[in-house]
């Protein structure tokens, strides 16, 4: 991974994110999104309303692509991505990005401003603006990559699964580099949708707290540049990935976390590691009663007591289709900055949590970190990252 970045309510770029994690300063705020905001907390990125994207992409201008544009410019990522295009050739750079709702916010706006004939008003008549692929099309365009391009939309596991898909492309010789990551933005669909499922908390989310009341929805953009690892690289590496399906329910996790266990096992096997090799686990930890109850047991039964496990959603909110990349970046920061983030807003941990659960930050450098992402439809993805001798 030769470059990476994340922008969320916890800050623009990795330095801001790292500092927020270290100082245990969360980015959630009382919901001020839309005309008729629900009483809840959100992770909002400021200034997107004024963040213009390049004029040639005006037909797909929307909050999601504005956040993508803001995110791409942090940490020199845009230059690194364009550098890969220059180095390998445009057709040798793949773009594989995850999103759950992409530009649906623009479709929602279009429904609020219909023409007299009942159709969309002219600024909203562009087909691609209403398609989940609008994000990948935008990023491909601004970076100048023309290789394989794909949108992965498996809800909250989307931008974790992109690492697996891109790694396969590179290993089988279809690309020399891949831009992976994901972007999701606040919109009515997710705020009122999760509210309808009674999964939204009326207070800042409290992952793994015994009195947790649900998620806080956030927005984020994150990207990583994957290339074949040089033999003596110091860059953090993707050591393994695992994927599985729960085959249980569209919006409720399997009661014993069967799919989560399969994905963790798959990732460990692919990395040639055992659970004892994992120093840090960034859990999905959404703060819904169901997810955290199941995941707490899975982690306590899978990893040794010496592993540290936490959820960083108290900083960013649940960034849905961008959660995989944001939490991958949290793992990379842990590896590169030598500390493991704890869990925000958790005052009384659920008794189901094992000794692995970290409420406070741990000032100790992990060598291997694992990130779990679970999505609607029972869609699970697990990533393992390493650095140094272990990588």
């Amino acid at each position: 991974m030769t470059a990476y970045t994340a922008t969320s309510a916890a800050g623009r770029g990795v330095d801001a994110f790292s500092q927020a994690l270290r100082e245990r300063r969360g980015g959630l705020r009382s919901n001020d999104f839309g005309n008729d905001p629900l009483a809840c907390w959100i992770g909002r990125v400021d200034g997107l309303e004024d963040a213009a994207i390049p004029g040639e992409f005006a037909t797909i201008d929307c909050r999601n692509n504005r956040l993508a544009w803001v995110g791409l410019q942090e940490d020199g990522f845009l230059d690194a991505a364009r550098g890969a295009v220059a180095r390998y050739g445009a057709d040798r750079v793949a773009v594989v990005l995850g999103t759950s709702t992409a530009s649906i916010g623009a479709t929602e706006e279009a429904y609020c401003a219909l023409d007299a004939d009942g159709g969309f008003s002219p600024p909203y008549r562009h087909f691609l603006l209403h398609s989940p692929h609008s994000l990948v099309a935008f990023v491909q365009g601004v970076v100048g990559a023309t290789g394989p391009a794909c949108t992965v939309a498996t809800a909250c596991s989307s931008s974790a699964k992109v690492f697996a898909q891109a790694e396969r492309l590179i290993r089988l010789g279809w690309a020399d580099a891949a831009i992976v990551g994901g972007v999701d933005t606040l919109c009515g669909s997710v705020l009122f949708g999760f509210n309808a499922l009674q999964l939204v908390s009326d207070e800042p989310c409290r992952p793994f707290d015994v009195a947790r009341r649900g998620i806080s929805i956030g927005e984020a953009a994150g990207f990583a540049l994957l290339e074949r690892a040089a033999p003596s690289t110091d860059a953090p590496q993707l050591l393994g990935w695992g994927e599985s399906s729960d085959a249980h329910h569209m919006s409720t996790p399997h009661p014993t976390g069967l799919g989560a266990r399969l994905a963790i096992g798959d990732a460990l096997q692919r990395a040639g590691l055992t659970a004892a090799d994992i120093d840090y686990v960034n859990m999905h930890g959404t703060a819904t009663p169901a997810n955290d109850a199941v995941e707490a047991v899975v982690v306590s039964e899978t990893f040794p007591a010496t592993t540290r496990a936490s959820s960083t959603k108290g900083w960013t909110g649940h960034t849905l289709g961008a959660a995989g990349i944001v939490e991958a970046v949290a793992c990379l920061l842990a590896l590169e900055h030598g500390f493991m983030p704890g869990t925000l807003n958790c005052t009384a941990p659920d008794p189901a949590c094992g000794p692995q659960f970290a409420r406070d930050n741990v000032e100790q450098a992990p060598h291997v970190a694992l990130s779990s992402s679970f999505g609607f439809g029972g869609n699970n993805a697990v990533l393992i990252f390493g650095r140094g001798a272990r990588a």
Binding site: C112, Y124, V152, T154, F192, A247
Partner: protein, 264 residues
């Protein structure tokens, strides 16, 4: 240059005039006239009756084609990793969501919301078939057939085992009709298997020039092309139905196309 070699173990199809692979074979060979009547609502075998009533149309289309492909391949669906692909997902659900958000957002249906995710079809399919293998839902706008086929072939070669690929789209409804030019339901599915198994061989290579993707030059196929992006798969299905060796170009991204060599 990289190539992927896979075999076609099973084929399924659902759409106007294309009510199953045996019918499609006759139509594609020119041995049968196109029947423009809307196809009957699918009743895919794996979905229990209650789920069939509750599931969005796109789930039924995808599951119908997927079930036919699995049956032809004599494959156990629970064992097959799944790659599902769609330009637009379920437009009727998107229309419901956006119309409700514009009027009475606090009355949004929780079931419609969880059905609104792009991976609803593969989610329902994996639940109905008890499949715990990896599953994914992808899109590449109007190149979604090629992008899904490509990802499925990558997984077959990487994993050395069969993979189920399904592509589907539905008709646009409501105000979305003014922006989204999809006008009928259509789904196709393939069970792709490693090259060591029987079946028609597909060799996938990246196209190196900017020639247009192949379409089928008959009236009914042209109409279908104008109505549903999944019709991108018809040129490949034509090659599979006629049993002739040929090359087919399928778009798989804005600037990325596959040159597929079909070897019976």
């Amino acid at each position: 240059m990289s190539e992927l070699v896979v075999r076609v173990a099973g084929i399924g199809i659902y759409g106007p005039g294309l009510t199953g692979w045996p019918v499609a074979v006759e139509l594609l060979r020119g041995e049968r006239a196109f029947d423009a009547a809307p196809p009957p609502k699918p009743a895919p075998v794996h979905l229990p009756a209650a789920e069939r009533r509750r599931a969005p149309d796109t789930v039924l289309y995808a599951a119908q084609a997927a079930a036919e492909a699995c049956a032809m391949a004599q494959a156990e669906p629970a064992q097959l990793p799944c790659v599902f692909s769609s330009t637009q997902g379920d437009i009727a659900i998107t229309d419901y969501m956006c119309a409700t958000l514009a009027s009475t957002p606090r009355e949004l249906s929780p079931t419609k919301f969880h059905n609104s995710v792009h991976n609803a079809a593969v989610g329902y399919w994996s639940i109905a078939t008890g499949c715990r293998a990896p599953s994914t839902a992808v899109s590449a706008w109007t190149d979604s057939v090629g992008a899904g086929l490509f990802e499925a072939a990558v997984q077959v070669v990487e994993g050395g085992a069969p993979v189920l690929f399904a592509a589907y789209d539905a008709a646009a409804v409501g105000p979305l009709r003014s922006a989204v030019p999809l006008d009928c339901g259509f789904a196709l599915a393939l069970v792709l298997a490693p090259d060591s198994t029987p079946g028609t061989r597909l060799t996938l290579r990246a196209a190196t020039d900017a020639a247009p993707k192949d379409t089928l030059a008959v009236d009914w196929a042209r109409r279908l092309h104008a109505q549903n992006a999944c019709a991108d798969g018809l040129a490949l299905l034509h090659a599979l139905a006629t049993g002739a060796a040929r090359r087919v170009r399928v778009g798989a991204g804005s600037h990325f196309a596959l040159q597929i060599e079909v070897t019976p």
